[in-house]
């Protein structure tokens, strides 16, 4: 890797002296080192994976709503080994569940909001010609791509894809079918990719800011990417270590996570033993809790960008928000064990982690409040991105608030590992982060393509998504309250499951409708590339630097290296003709 980081210097500058139009098609589009091309690659790949991950869950929802009944039409497309007569088997259900989680988190959302938006927008917003290490940037994408392929390939492994949940708790995952090995190898690729990416982000933000762009003049989105990069950089390696240890257990027969005297389905296991199943959970959640903030912080960043631009008003409490962001990032490293209250934790430790959990909730509250107060005495422009950004606020609020009873160990006794948890974190990432991502897509699409997406289709897409996404996740809270455990193939085996089956069915229908609601978006996304209205470089009349570049920006981004004179969100400044005051303009120019 240090080889890699040096490798960049080797070609770095002379490569940049090249005349870019000379580049062949492959170097220009496929193996491009241009952060914009890479960003688009990231975003498109991630969107495909999101769609895939969502289709997996739409298939599962049939089994949940109508257990043991053949899945109409689509069921016939699957092999008899996994869906005999269209009826989903539990082992396949578990594979789908595990892969849904993995794909959504590691192959969908993070690559979209970090790899995609981060790569494309961040360098533009700091007025940089490119990432600090363009080659490493390209490498990080292709490593991610390979990781994704490995994950997909695992579906064809004997016994199907990994089926021990995206958390891969040991010893279950160690005794699981071959798919789990593929999963681990895939994870190693994905982790490597995000390491390459994150250090690239940090260096770029520290080294390549335009003149005058001090840290407290950075757009909030850049800040969110900055903190996120640190989380990825420091939280992922422990998971990499854990993955290596689990690989050893599976392949070399070591007993890191295998205690003495295991008897699996009546067979005494050959493992020497002496390992600790909980070690995996500690290593995993040490990553996975920061990962939760990796999933949400860039979303907050994007929402901040869209809200300021559409309220025509500076961000309320910008500095406080930045401090909260950094504090969140720091705290997220010392809350992980609140995922493990039920593993038999004593009062003191549980109290400690519960306290840190309560404390970490405050900065989120601060950021949310700041965003809402920004609306006060503003002038709200109901554009499509703004609708998604506004929807983000209450949705994320629900997601955050429902985390509270889970953070209280005593309440967690009842709610832990029930649908309540599912509802909670899906409210954070689905109508939270994914809505933020939609806001980002509609907001920056003109910058990427030079054309704007269709507003009418966009608004249809928004309202349908907003309605049905709530129809999907609200019922889960009631199911969880009734005590329905998560990851059940057929909850109607339990009396309490039967009683709330109605909610399950509602949730399933919501999911399928939500799927349909994405059609207008997909149409809009592709049609607008050709038919979309041509727009100027700064269609939203925003202040941040990316709008100072031409749309779409050429390789190297800015014709003349911009100089920054003021903070990121100078809207409706008294005494200026227009209601926005771009960062790179002098008083005279404005």
């Amino acid at each position: 890797m240090s080889h890699g980081s040096n490798d960049h210097h080797h070609h770095g500058p002379d490569h940049h002296h090249h005349d870019h139009p000379e580049l062949g098609w492959w170097r220009k589009y496929v193996f491009s080192t241009d952060h914009k091309v890479i960003g688009v690659w990231y975003a498109v790949t991630a969107l495909v994976f999101l769609l895939l991950g969502f289709s997996l869950v739409m298939t599962m929802r049939w089994q949940l709503a109508y257990p043991g009944q053949p899945l109409p039409v689509i069921g016939a497309l699957f092999s008899e080994n996994v869906m005999p007569g269209g009826v989903m088997l539990p082992e396949f259900y578990n594979s789908l569940g595990a892969m849904h989680g993995t794909i959504m988190v590691f192959l969908g959302i993070v690559p979209l909001i970090v790899g995609g938006f981060g790569n494309y927008v961040m360098p533009l917003q700091i007025g940089a010609p490119d990432m600090a290490f363009p080659k490493i940037n390209m490498a990080s994408y292709w490593v991610y791509f390979v990781g994704g392929i490995v994950m997909l390939a695992s579906f064809f492994a004997p016994g199907g894809a990994a089926n021990s949940g995206w958390t891969s708790y040991t010893p279950l995952s160690v005794t699981a079918t071959a798919g789990q090995t593929w999963w681990l190898i895939g994870m190693v690729f994905l982790i490597t990719s995000s390491l390459l990416g994150s250090l690239n982000f940090i260096v770029t933000i520290i080294q390549l800011r335009a003149n005058g762009l001090s840290f407290f003049r950075l757009p909030f989105f850049v800040w969110s990417q900055f903190v996120t990069a640190f989380l990825l950089l420091l939280a992922f390696p422990p998971l990499e270590a854990a993955a290596v240890l689990q690989l050893m257990d599976r392949v070399a027969g070591s007993s890191f996570f295998m205690p003495t005297g295991l008897v699996v389905s009546g067979v005494v296991q050959s493992y020497t033993g002496g390992g600790s199943p909980l070690l995996w959970q500690h290593l995993f959640w040490f990553l996975a809790h920061p990962e939760v903030y990796v999933l949400i912080l860039p979303g907050m960043g994007m929402v901040a960008e869209v809200i300021t631009s559409n309220t025509r008003k500076p961000l309320w409490g910008y500095r406080v928000m930045v401090y909260s962001l950094v504090f969140l990032g720091f705290m997220s490293f010392i809350v992980w064990a609140h995922h493990m209250f039920i593993t038999g934790m004593g009062t003191r430790i549980s109290a400690f982690f519960a306290t840190t959990t309560m404390i970490i909730s405050i900065p989120s509250v601060v950021i949310l409040t700041a965003l809402v107060i920004t609306l006060y005495r503003s002038s709200i422009r109901y554009t499509v991105p703004m609708l998604f950004a506004l929807a983000f606020l209450p949705m994320f609020a629900i997601g955050g608030l429902t985390g509270l009873p889970l953070g209280l160990p005593a309440a967690d006794i009842q709610l832990h590992d029930t649908y309540y948890v599912i509802g909670h974190f899906h409210y954070v990432v689905a109508p939270g982060t994914i809505f933020a991502a939609f806001a980002g897509i509609y907001h920056w699409y003109p910058k990427v393509t030079g054309r704007s997406m269709n507003a009418a289709l966009g608004k249809i897409h928004f309202w349908l998504s907003f309605i049905f996404i709530n129809a999907v996740f609200t019922p889960m809270f009631f199911q969880g309250m009734a005590g329905v455990s998560r990851r059940l193939y057929d909850q109607t085996l339990y009396q309490h499951g039967v009683e709330v089956q109605g909610w399950t069915i509602m949730s399933s229908w919501g999911a399928w409708m939500l799927g349909l609601s994405q059609v207008p978006f997909i149409l809009n996304f592709f049609l607008s590339m050709r038919a979309g209205r041509k727009v100027a470089d700064n269609p939203w009349e925003s202040t941040t630097l990316e709008w100072a570049a031409p749309s779409p920006p050429p390789h190297g981004n800015f014709a003349t290296v911009p100089v920054v004179y003021r903070g990121p969100y100078e809207y409706s400044v008294p005494g200026t003709k227009r209601d926005f005051f771009p960062q790179h303009l002098t008083k005279a120019e404005a």
């Binding site: 890797m1 600090a132 390696p237 240890l245 050893m248 007993s255 003495t260 033993g273 070690l279």
Partner: protein, 208 residues
């Protein structure tokens, strides 16, 4: 259309005082610290939690079949290689290309020695021993092979990088000596880290 040159790739950034490559290397090392940190904490946890008797019990010194002599030898080899690495960089800084390359070659040689010693005197004898000592023997050996194996891979990575700079990579010197020197510096940083990891591994596995 004119394309801006990527700044701070060779010359340090006026404010941060480092060139990008160096900063990147440091960040990479930070993540590496987390990686090995996780492994070391696993070591502690597993050793503390190990049963007191039975096959899974933590082996005593004579059961570990690790000779501190060989380990010590390798430690010295790595430390010396770190010194030669610094010498290589210092000479390049003083524009002594030939001498710098010579020290670089020495580092490469020492790195190779480390790997050969590790394989010839430690790994292979353990695999061929009757009964063989494998990761499945007990968690001590599991950790031993995992940690030293991972460290070994890092050494191998270093070998590849250094070999590259001795060979094709060294052309850069004639185009831009400062560049080349910087890259050797980054490699050095990485190399010292690999060395440092071993300095932790040696006592933990051989002496404690």
């Amino acid at each position: 259309m004119s394309v801006a040159v990527l700044p701070h790739t060779v010359k340090p950034h006026p404010i941060t005082g480092v060139y990008s490559g160096k900063l990147g290397t440091w960040l990479f090392l930070a993540s590496e610290v987390m990686l090995f940190g996780a492994l070391f904490s696993s070591y502690v946890l597993l050793r503390v939690g190990a049963p007191h008797e039975g096959p899974a019990a933590w082996p005593t010194h004579d059961q570990t079949h690790l000779s501190w002599k060989i380990g010590g030898l390798n430690t010295i080899v790595l430390i010396v290689s770190s010194v030669t690495m610094v010498m290589a960089w210092a000479n390049l800084k003083m524009n002594k290309f030939a001498k710098g390359k010579m020290y670089l070659a020495a580092t490469l040689g020492l790195a190779m020695t480390f790997i050969i010693v590790k394989l010839a005197f430690e790994y292979i004898p353990k695999f061929t021993h009757e009964p063989p000592y494998l990761p499945s023997t007990n968690n001590f050996f599991a950790l031993y092979f995992t940690m030293t194996g991972l460290h070994g891979l890092h050494v191998l990575g270093g070998v590849i990088v250094i070999a590259y700079f001795l060979g094709p990579g060294s052309k850069l010197w004639h185009r831009d000596p400062e560049y080349f020197t910087n890259r050797i510096e980054c490699t050095g940083l990485y190399w010292h880290f690999v060395d440092l990891v071993w300095i932790f591994l040696f006592p933990v596995l051989y002496l404690l």
